[in-house]
Amino acid sequence: MNEEKKHQGRLKIFFGYAMHTGKTYAMLQEAKELTDMSNDVVVGYIENVEGLETILKGLECVPNRQLMLSSPEVDIDAILARHPHIVLIDHMAHTNRNGSRHLKRYQDILEILEAGIDVYTTANVQDIVSLQDDINKITGEHSSETIPDYLFEQAHQVKFIDNEPQYEHHYSVETLKALRELAIKCCAQRIKKLTSLPSKSHFINSEHILVCLSPSPSNAKVIRTAAKLASTYQARLTALYIAPLDKKLSKKEYQYLQENISLAKDLQAQIEVLNDNKVVFEIAEYARISGVTKIVLGQSPTHFFQRSSLSEQLVRLAPQLEIYVIPYIDERSIFKLVRPQLTLNRQDFMRTAGMLILSTLIGGIFYYLDFKESNIILIYILGVLMTALITTRRIYSLASSFISVLIFNFLFTSPRLTLRAYDSRYIVTFIIMFIVAFITSSMTNKLQTSAKDSAQNAYRMKILLETNQKLQKEKNKEGIISVTCHSLMKLLQRDIIFYPVSKNNLEKPLIFCQSPKDTSIFQNEEAVAKWVLKNNKHAGATTKTLSNALCLYLAVRIGDKIYGIIGIYIDDKPLDSYENNIMLSILGELALSLENESVIKEKATADLKAKNEQLRANLLRSISHDLRTPLTSISGNAGILLSTGTILDEDKKKQLYSDIYDDSLWLINLVENLLSVTRIENGSMNLNLKVELIEDVINEALKHINTRRIQHHIQVIQDENILLAKIDARLIVQVIMNILDNAIKYTPDHTTITIQSYLKDKNIYIDIADEGNGINDKDKEHIFDMFYTANRQVADSRRSLGLGLSLCQSIIQAHHGEIKVYDNSPHGTVFQISLPAQEVEIHE
């Protein structure tokens, strides 16, 4: 199926019509021949080796395992590890032992095929799931070990083994004959389908068959019939289950439903579950929207009290559909129809009785007050109406109206205290009273149901909406995951584990527990999550794979991209269809959000990369210019000293020496700044944060200013308090140095530069004030731009690399601080750095 995507193993089935017809032998023989032609063939599993010892001798068996009796199931991992070209696995319909990885052996085979290993296997015609009804007719037996039809139909090759049974067979000759015919027909149909079935895309314009699921064992036959029909018409098959909102399935019914759903899955039907009470309407709607052409329904013979059958109602609602009705007798369903109406709810019963007594009391008062009888009748009608409102079933209001009529007749009509009525008008009154009661009770009943419907729908919408809103607020992955998992946890009342996935690997899981009790339930199940990631399929509790796990594991994915694996704690309490639906919608939302987030992130990274590239390109361009000037001076001066040093007088030499020294110092400073620039990666600095004393940082910066060579007076005013900040000390030192350098460079000699540090509103401020000419307002706006220098006219001189202040800004911003510039009074400039102060807990 996915051949274009990755190499898939091919399946070859040795197909027989009964047991002991030599399928396994034929398979082994072929394996032997292939081995002799030096193919890489390995025996994965043979069920019964009796009589096959000789032929097995020449074949390699799966490593490390005796395939006789010690390993009752296929050792998938051993086969995957050995990775032969072809592996032999006997009897594909086998149901694995409890606790195996997969429920069915054919799932093992599928996993091995997925890994690109060819599989040879055996199957009987009895194993094919859609033929179960025919088989039952022929043999009178029911097989529980079946394989889905698509495996047979889509197998790479099917070899029909048409031997006569080797032993005394437990089937009669007639039965064997019928089975053989069926098997041959099966093979013939497969060939026919293969030749006329080029790809799956043909589904789009052709037939679409809908089969309705129900929680009853008789439904299986309906599903199989639908599947057969679908295969004949080469139609798409959808199995629809309408889950009633007001009715909880019993455990038994739930089990039947699950069986039917998994049968439908095996028959390659797409499963849809809708929640509604209006079954017929929903089926018709679904059929209309999804372009269904044929509907297959199961139907038991109608009884006189049923209004009309499902099929009749459907014909009325969707006349364009072809409807196939599969009849069955289902005693259970008849019983079920009557039973719930009869079960009396004690509370409802009390309410009804109470209402009747109340109506009678008021009626009695009216009677003694000599009110007209019609008033009493109205009281009773009101009573019935109230009963309909406060009870859950129609039966109470009907009974109530009937009893009301009786009581009214008994107590208030002459002859009183008898059930006889002299006046024939009363008969009319009774009938009308009954009809009124009937209609009101029906109306209120409907009202109640639809109120419940809409309440549940509203709740679902509310949760989805809330989750959606919360998701939109979250920007990062962790937030998205935590919000979703929390709402799922609240909604399902279950513990949840989430494994984020990055680069196809599970990351450390996040666990969301309702109570902080033990998280141990999720331990030992990482393997299940890994399996889900590898195979992109559900696994764990309530599935057919690794079903011994306590949790159900699902992949949160868009297409083939898996963003995470979510585990939901099941523990024998499976999710009902409503929960399942809402969970799937929420997981869908989650996957979308995660995809969004990763797309945004990728885009941001790309943008940043481009921006950084631009930045570096600019930088390189200006550096090459700015490096050349001092280097020219250094090499030139040194050259003069080397060649003509002897004829220069001492003063001249000293001048040259100090020029070299100054220029090299300038270069050192430049290199320092460049080093810091290279640390700007991915838009943020790679900070080495430590708690530092601001006093130390300022002193360190001052150490680097060569005080002997400058003519400025530098004054430091430190705060009384101990000022601590979490900073990258080297970078902050750099910032202070750059600002000091600028101040020294751009202000006249013999002026004062003041450095003052203080604490205000949980921020540490460092003001560096000079007494120069100040910076005009226009320049202030651009002063932190890269490559901007205040004195444009000297921009071409070598002190022009306008890197310093822009770098300062980047550094301070990376520390979540601010750098500002404003005028000093009476004149000059103040650069103000603010950094968040660190609060310290002293460890004595």
Binding site: I722, V733, V840
Partner: protein
């Protein structure tokens, strides 16, 4: 005393020359080495007083050289390293180096560090000989036996942790103690919060032993690296 002998391990020829000339002008004896292996050989045969060691050597890692030397001797080791290698520096100091010089360094700085290192050798010798209970540095005096600290003869009251810090610094006079080393010694752990506490204690300690008017500073701060106590000549 003979003029001290210094082993210079540096693979860059120009820097090696610069150091050699500097040492020559101050009448230090020196041995030059351009690789880790030869440095270990020279160390074994020549018995130098101080080692100047470049961390980036062509053959073996400078860290390994430090470890091998520390197995045998407490000789002062000064590391030469380039900027931007703070973590290497700290690692080297933790591995047993005494001091570091960041390239590019000035000649004055180099000589100053050498003097500190040599004074440290002297101190180690002296304390070994006398097994001293009294530590004296400038006006500062510590009596280890009674845990009494005095400055110009006046007793200073230190908290237990302040005393512990001072104790560590004084016993390693001339050697840079990294933040990690100090916090481990004091609290047994090296969390960020410990480093923050260390800053506070250190600031308080310095206020007590370095009054502003005196202008003396016993403890040097090496931002991003650690602290060191330096030898101060006695005033008056």
């Amino acid at each position: 005393m003979n003029s001290p002998k210094i082993l210079v391990v540096e693979d860059d020829k120009a820097v090696r020359n610069l150091i050699a000339i500097t040492l020559q002008t101050r009448n230090y004896k020196y041995i030059l080495s351009d690789s880790g292996e030869s440095a270990l050989l020279e160390f074994a045969s020549e018995h130098p007083d101080v080692i100047l060691l470049d961390l980036g050597l062509p053959d073996i890692d400078g860290m390994e050289v430090i470890q091998k030397i520390r197995e045998k001797s407490q000789i002062p080791i000064i590391i030469l390293s380039a900027r931007g290698e703070e973590s290497d520096k700290v690692a080297a100091l933790d591995a047993g180096a005494d001091d570091y010089l960041t390239k590019p360094f000035s000649v004055e700085e180099l000589l100053a560090r050498l003097r500190v290192a040599l004074r440290r050798t002297e101190y180690i010798w002296n304390s070994d000989a006398k097994n001293n209970h009294i530590f004296e540095n400038g006006d500062l005096k510590i009596d280890y036996a009674s845990s009494c600290v005095t400055l110009k003869g006046e007793e200073i009251h230190l908290t237990p942790i302040e005393y512990k810090i001072l104790n560590l610094l004084s016993k390693n006079i001339g050697k840079i103690l990294t933040h990690t080393y100090l916090t481990r010694e004091i609290w047994g752990s090296a969390f960020d919060s410990d480093v923050a506490s260390l800053r506070v204690f250190m600031a308080n300690l310095r206020k007590k032993i370095e009054p502003e008017k005196s202008g003396v500073s016993y403890i040097q701060t090496h931002v991003g690296i650690g602290y060191r106590m330096v030898k101060i000549e006695k005033s008056d």
